[in-house]
Symmetry: C2
Subunit: 430 residues, 2 copies
């Protein structure tokens, strides 16, 4: 079940990995104390890139949509972590309403929802699925390709409570990233737990705010463990006023791209890295790998043609791009069956519960893999991220993926900080 | 990795198992609410017997000594559960002192300690091992057969704190069941967490008190789920004044054996069971499978010969047997590679973290398997106890062992109740 993995783990990362393994006890202690101060998100996933000299998260998703890609052997970990999450947030809850994305034909996404429902049921929750889709006016059962079924039901709002017919839940779990903004039906649910909070949706979230929180988290961690934070942190710049259609903001973009590339070149020189630096220009809000561009020279963002501008201008749910983040590109040195691959790590509460590889047979190692044509390879349980192979602990299960679990949790911790800092004043919420 | 398992799962248990699977959500919810009221032990293990018509715990150990028998694939679950346990008891702890049994030659036990140490380290604790052995006067490193090493250190008592040289822990974890009573060095540790509490040791514990708590737990559970509690509860009787050497108390013993056998015959008749009923006579305090006798007729406990009396009179650490529990015998219908087997389920905090089979090639299915000559077969991860195979959840991993996890947790819950009820008044502790 372990994918054939050829990782170019040359000098520096082995050193980094070794440092993580040597200091696993301190690292875990550090995390334990952090989670006393910061409430972990209910769930999250992160895309990592491993260049051999740098291991960094490039995205943190608070509405993970790939539980179906987790190997079944991860299920007990998922259930155990979900139990911890439920106990932390609403231990007395017995009914939970799940609100998924508005997809009714995306088999992969629907299988994700089915997997999530089965995890939640096994924690002891009655789970029903409420749909935001206006055309779901009666319970609608979807037959999935893997034999599972899902019943979507119309939402019923009653005063400040949300449910479905005959079902008044204690908690509402969003698996919908709210890219289109907050539907009225979700506003003012003062009597129910809403997980994650509304302001964790992409109508509010900004990648740059997450990156800024990650900066601080990583700086504190790196100081504790004694590493250069750059080794696990992709640097970034921001342009706040870009309009690709109207061709405004190009100058800012070119300037920031150049500034970041200059910085990366200096760090590459410091570490004797001969790879060609690149940056990734992305919409600061939004997900699904849309509105993403790989750039190796500032001149590439000046005078974009119509196709390029159209591609960058609109992301999911037709959201217009105005703010742009320029993120240091991290080559991925990992391949699965000869194709370029990046690990995706899944977490519930503050626990790593599994992961898989996103694989793209037609992309290069300096390109975005979250694009049509990608596929997924489960990481089998042997290689899960919560136990390192410490040479001091010969009885611990061999595991090369501990470093992935560490970096993924740093990104999750940054998301906690980000959610705390963006929490609206109480009046605004109500 | 899955042992070849031939389980005689005839009618009634399949029905019981099906009831558990059908009501998994309610069962998990019931447990969740119970754990809000009752503090789970830090860890525990339970021996189950599965007769096909009855699935019952016959022992609950609060100082589990077989972590080494768990398949490595269970490690992530162990680490995750240990993190939850530490966060619950002493989230701010960073140093933990482990006090093991006084074995320095039992390789299996020492490998158990090494495995436990590695689990605890991976939760972010500095762990040192303090020995109660008087001949450990300096740090003593033991090389284990599996390549691991363990360093035992002499205990250092300083005022009301316990540690080892240069190590002042926040918490002290006992993996020593205190059969010999409470060593003075462990008394009055008012400033440190002592896990489990001293009164969970076998100098205080009585199997009958656990069985009485299990009665109540199971009655509440059975009512909730709608089953006959007898199906998961071995009945018991007690004799308080038995002296095998002086041949006193035989009458009480014979009377209680007869009374229990009569009761079992009635239940067997009710369920059309044709097996021959038996009871197990055990020391009410103590463990390690010592002082155990299988009895099919009351006459067998009258006029015991010297060998039998010697066998029953003394258990671990030379403790004299005075109180005796007579427990309903549960045949084990399970075999591994042709030998009689019983599942042993491991738990940390309130989570099932793994299990294995105790196998004895020379014992019958109505005999105690915890005896010289036994060996262990790991349950592989595929068959772990936290996820049921619900026909309603086609995407859940197949799992026939959910029922084991449920019954094991009922025994653990009974231990929580037992520990609460035996907690000494504050003055007595100090």
């Amino acid at each position: 079940m372990v994918p054939h993995l050829t990782t170019a783990l040359t000098g520096p990362l082995l050193e980094l990995e070794k440092q993580f393994l040597d200091r696993a006890t301190e690292i875990e202690k550090w995390f334990r104390v952090q989670w006393l101060d910061h409430m972990p998100p209910f769930y999250g996933s992160t895309d990592l890139r491993n260049s051999g000299f740098k291991l960094a998260p490039v995205d943190l998703n608070l509405f993970p949509g790939g539980f179906n890609n987790l190997d079944d052997s991860f299920m007990p970990l998922c259930v155990q972590a979900a139990q911890a999450a439920i106990e932390r947030i609403c231990a007395d809850a017995s009914k939970l309403l799940l609100i998924p994305e508005n997809h009714t034909r995306n088999q992969f996404y629907l299988q994700n929802v089915a997997k999530l429902v089965s995890i939640l049921k096994l924690t002891g929750l009655d789970v029903r699925i409420g749909s935001l889709l206006p055309d779901i006016t009666a319970p609608t059962t979807l037959e999935l390709a893997n034999g599972a079924t899902l019943t979507l039901e119309p939402l019923l709002r009653s005063g400040s409570r949300l449910g479905v017919e005959g079902f008044d839940p204690c908690a509402v779990l969003l698996n919908n990233d709210l890219s289109a903004g907050i539907p009225d039906v979700l506003r003012g649910l003062d009597e129910q737990w809403l997980i994650p909070p509304l302001h964790a949706g992409w109508h509010v979230r900004r990648k740059s705010r997450h990156a800024a929180a990650y900066d601080r988290v990583v700086n504190a961690f790196a100081e504790e463990i004694g590493i250069d934070p750059w080794r696990i942190n992709p640097e970034f710049r921001v342009c706040g006023e870009v309009n690709f259609h109207e061709r405004t903001g190009e100058e800012c973009l070119a300037h920031q791209v150049d500034s970041l590339l200059t910085r990366i070149r200096a760090k590459y020189k410091e570490y004797d890295i001969t790879d060609e630096p690149f940056v990734v220009v992305k919409a600061d809000a939004g997900t699904y790998g849309m509105g993403v561009m790989t750039v190796k020279d500032a001149s590439e963002v000046v005078g974009l043609n119509r196709r390029q501008r159209n591609k960058m201008a609109v992301v999911k749910e037709g959201l217009q791009v105005q703010e742009v983040i320029i993120q240091e590109g991290v080559h991925t040195f990992e391949t699965v069956d000869g194709a370029v691959a990046e690990p995706v790590i899944y977490m519930m509460d503050h626990y790593v519960v599994g992961g898989f590889y996103r694989v793209h047979t037609e992309r290069a190692r300096d390109e975005n893999l979250n694009a049509p044509g990608m596929h997924f390879k489960p990481l089998a349980f042997d290689t899960c991220c919560s136990i390192p192979d410490c040479s001091k602990e010969p009885d611990a299960a061999p595991n090369r993926f501990y470093a992935y679990g560490v970096v993924a949790r740093l990104a999750l911790l940054a998301a906690s900080v980000e959610i705390e800092e963006t929490e609206p004043a109480e009046e605004a919420v109500a």
